[in-house]
Amino acid sequence: MGATTETFYSVIRRQGITRRSFHKFCSLTATSLGLGPLASARIANALETKPRTPVIWMHGLECTCCSESFIRSAHPLVKDVVLSMISLDYDDTIMAAAGQQAEEILEETRAKYKGQYILAVEGNPPLNEGGMFCIDGGKPFVEKLKVMAEDAMAIIAWGACASWGCVQAAKPNPTQATPIDKVITNKPIIKVPGCPPIAEVMTGVVTFITTFGKLPELDRQGRPKMFYSQRIHDKCYRRPHFDAGQFVEEWDDEAARKGYCLYKMGCKGPTTYNACSTVRWNGGVSFPIQSGHGCIGCSEDGFWDKGSFYDRLTTIKQFGIERNADQVGMVAAGTVGAAVAAHAAVTAVKRLATKRDDANAKQDH
């Protein structure tokens, strides 16, 4: 535990990393966070002088894809982040300690770093049956979460689970899986959605918090603006095909081979805020659209409950039947049209009848 009072710089120097590589790392990090050239010096200064920030990483109902993504970060190298930049005191998935010993770490961190540690949550707590659906260390996860959140400086909600609920919260949500911000309401929460979030985005967020000691600027939904202020569609390399009106109409058609826009195949890029089209995945190798598949909107609220990933128009279930807006609209407008036509017909008949009546009335005189 003493390691947490060390600085990042002293740790990496001890590991034999040169001062030159350290500065390279600082400027790369500054760039990836979208900060100006001066920020590099500020990052270096912070990493040289500030004690490392303790991080507690907890897991609720989840699939561990966030952790899987995180440890594959190419830059800043995750081993630097995990091992040096922050002092990851507790992560029940990757730490060596287990059982009683592991649980003690939680108590210790909470006492020693009251109000100073970061609570990173992967997954979410199910609230039904008193939280019975996710038991961790003999206690419902929701209780553990509340206790640890009490003394945290801030909370990172990793992924779609912690941010929005994700598939375990899909209708009818039997376990009542609930996103973190609906359970913890008195702490700053930063949402880093995605299923999983991009590794570089995750490490970028951690780097920012640990170097500047505060949360980055968040948008209306509580996401860091630096990574979530643009849609996939805004920076998609297939965008010229979208504007030109060149669409893939069917999988494996000529347009698909030519790499046209996947809009008609249900691509959710136009409604999805994430950094995939700029940062990409696996160290910048590719991202779903580049591999020929539309975006499924994995970083958006409720993406799991909006009908097929392959439909352009969202399936609406509120009307009892599963139809899209055009199908609902056409039926409704068709009904109104038929009513108008019928009304017009009755009007015409009535008018004729009235005229005849009037004519008859005149004749009677």
Partner: protein, 247 residues
């Protein structure tokens, strides 16, 4: 006072004023009232045109035209469709706003579409009368200078509320392209507090279009029908501004 004119005073005399002119031909003198001032009429036709453009282009945004062959640099079909939509959207917003402002300075009828006098019993009685008239249960329609009470109710919900909804959700969607620092996002970004996923805003905006389609269908039918059936001019009123009463 409601606009129900049992029969304007001058109507009685004017209706009978059938005078032979020098040539011995008969001209019918009909009572007329100035109802729709020029700004109301201009706003009406500009908005009607904008809404038709918005419906066509909006539908094509939801279900784009078949793929265009050739180089991407060679065409801009989706770009133009969207441009037309956004341009018509801004036009609608400006003229709708102008129409609202006119309600403050214009005549009594210019305010009709912006409220329903929910608290007045007489109003609802007249709405019922109009419903009965449209349900063929009343033989004679009443005469109104402005909108009849049923039309007023329909205008308020079908036009004022729906168009406001479309403008608000439309600008919220537009702000996504303009960026979160744009004035559009500052003014309309709150829509995403209601629907955090803009996919839902798209769906509601799209459903709103169908609601408006229904309004326009009924509206145009009612306008033509009333023009033929009722005892006042309708369609020409929206062109000249004058309401003629006839027997």
């Amino acid at each position: 006072m409601m606009d129900a004119v049992a029969r304007p005073a001058e109507t009685e005399t004017n209706l009978a004023a059938i005078a032979a002119d020098a040539a011995g031909e008969y001209a019918v003198g009909r009572p007329t009232v100035y109802v729709y001032e020029a700004p109301v009429r201009i706003c009406h036709w500009v908005n009607a045109f904008a809404i038709v453009v918005l419906m066509v282009t909006g539908y094509l945004i939801g279900t784009p035209l078949p793929t265009v062959e050739g180089e991407a640099s060679g065409s801009f079909v989706m770009g133009y469709v969207r441009f037309a939509h956004f341009a018509a959207g801004q036009v609608l917003a400006v003229f709708f706003l102008a129409r609202i402002l006119w309600a403050f300075v214009g005549n009594h009828h210019s305010r009709q579409i912006f409220y329903i006098p929910v608290h007045r019993k007489q109003f609802w009685k007249e709405v019922l009368h109009e419903i009965r008239w449209y349900a063929f249960l009343e033989r004679e329609p009443k005469m109104y200078v402005g909108h009849n009470p049923l039309a007023q109710t329909a205008m308020f919900t079908g036009f004022t509320l729906f168009v406001t909804f479309m403008i608000v959700t439309g600008f919220a969607l537009y702000s996504e392209g303009e960026g979160i620092d744009s004035w559009q996002h500052k003014a309309f970004g709150w829509v995403f507090s209601i629907w955090p996923n803009s996919q839902d805003v798209h769906t509601w905006h799209h459903l709103g279009m169908w609601a408006l389609v229904m309004f326009v269908m009924v509206h145009v039918y009612a306008a033509i029908r009333e023009d033929i059936m009722s005892r006042q001019s309708i369609i020409s009123s929206m062109i000249s501004g004058e309401r003629q009463f006839r027997e």
